[in-house]
Symmetry: C2
Subunit: 221 residues, 2 copies
């Protein structure tokens, strides 16, 4: 009918998810209103930037007062699509996969795992967070039966591409990849990469660049 979302920049969407988390915490704490300054401080961003992010949702605050916590929370939740729970499948139940399956943060944010898959027969049948690990062969069946649109890959890098192909073929439209490998997916399938080693290396580089006075003496080779 209208155009409530002309285009929301991706960086803004990421921050909106952070604001939503903070607002949920404030609401649980009994707070009824917040100012942009306080909210920005809790989210770790600039107040002006926060207001600009919120301006993409249309006016949702009261000048001179601030934002009503519950109202703003619900509006962000609606824009992000958190109001309805989303079915996800998780492939690769190793250490990381187990941690993701057990992570309570997903369930409280509108994501539920409807299928845990692994190729190793030893892992199939184990129960993680009340759910059984299924053989990878049942992937298509579960995706079709649950209309899951999001897949999470936590497998070793060697099989990540084939898992990606299977997910895409099964009808999954969005893939979150933890394997340290650039995946190639067909058009229409979004892939988002999370590389934990890269995060550490960036951190180490920044620290090294800044820490010239490090305890280790740098010797030119």
């Amino acid at each position: 009918m209208n155009q409530p979302r002309p285009r929301i920049p991706e960086a803004t969407v990421a921050r909106l998810a952070v604001y939503l988390r903070v607002l949920t915490g404030l609401a649980d704490g009994g707070r009824s209103s917040v100012s942009s300054g306080e909210l920005a401080s809790a989210a770790g961003v600039n107040p002006a930037g926060l207001r600009k992010d919120l301006s993409h949702l249309g006016p949702c605050g009261v000048r001179g007062v601030g934002y009503e916590v519950a109202t703003l929370r619900d509006r962000i939740a609606r824009v992000l699509g958190v109001e309805r729970s989303r079915a996800c499948v998780l492939v690769g139940i190793g250490n990381l996969g187990t941690a993701l399956a057990d992570y309570a943060g997903f369930g409280s944010r509108g994501f539920r795992f409807v299928g845990l898959f692994d190729a190793a027969p030893a892992r199939v049948g184990q129960r993680i967070g009340g759910q059984p690990v299924r053989p990878i062969e049942e992937l298509d069946e579960v995706v079709a039966g649950t209309a899951a649109t999001i897949g999470v890959i936590a497998t070793p890098a060697e099989v990540a591409q084939s898992v990606c192909d299977r997910l895409a073929a099964a009808g999954v439209r969005s893939i979150l990849n933890f394997a340290p490998l650039a995946l190639s997916a067909p058009a229409g399938v979004d892939v988002r990469q999370v590389d934990l080693s890269v995060e550490l290396q960036v951190l180490a580089f920044l620290g090294q660049q800044r820490g010239v006075a490090a305890p280790t003496v740098e010797v030119l080779a």
Copy 2:
């Protein structure tokens, strides 16, 4: 001499880490040279952007031929500081912490955990990846004894800030935070945030946005 690293943009550093991983794989596979196009494809980036990233290291390719795999790998490794192993401490040995402690990708990239810490007495004494879990009280001692400069927080959000304070007080200069909370650290301490739920929510939003845009008929003005 002049300035070998005037300033390398943070986004470039993150990609350099990816190139390094790809190059290591190519070297292990016996490849001796690569073109920017092939390397960019394997890393999932634009060829021109890759060349610009590499230009921050000075000329390191041969025109008409490409890049020598081993040479480029070593040069990136030196710039990122991977040549010497870096000591890290990990606080919070829950599901995620266990996965991180066991993750082989860190060790092969120059990061070694010299201390695993948890506040729960039940977890103290367990061995993860050949290392014992220590009580949080020993944090200062271990950081001082190992000169660890990087700390990883994988605790619940409620205690993440106090852990951050302890790490900073112990002398840790760089912190990678997995708790869904914006940390405030003293000046001189770098904090990098990884929020898994945010990644999923961004992915869900993009998928939802496209799902809405697809069935809607676009009308030209």
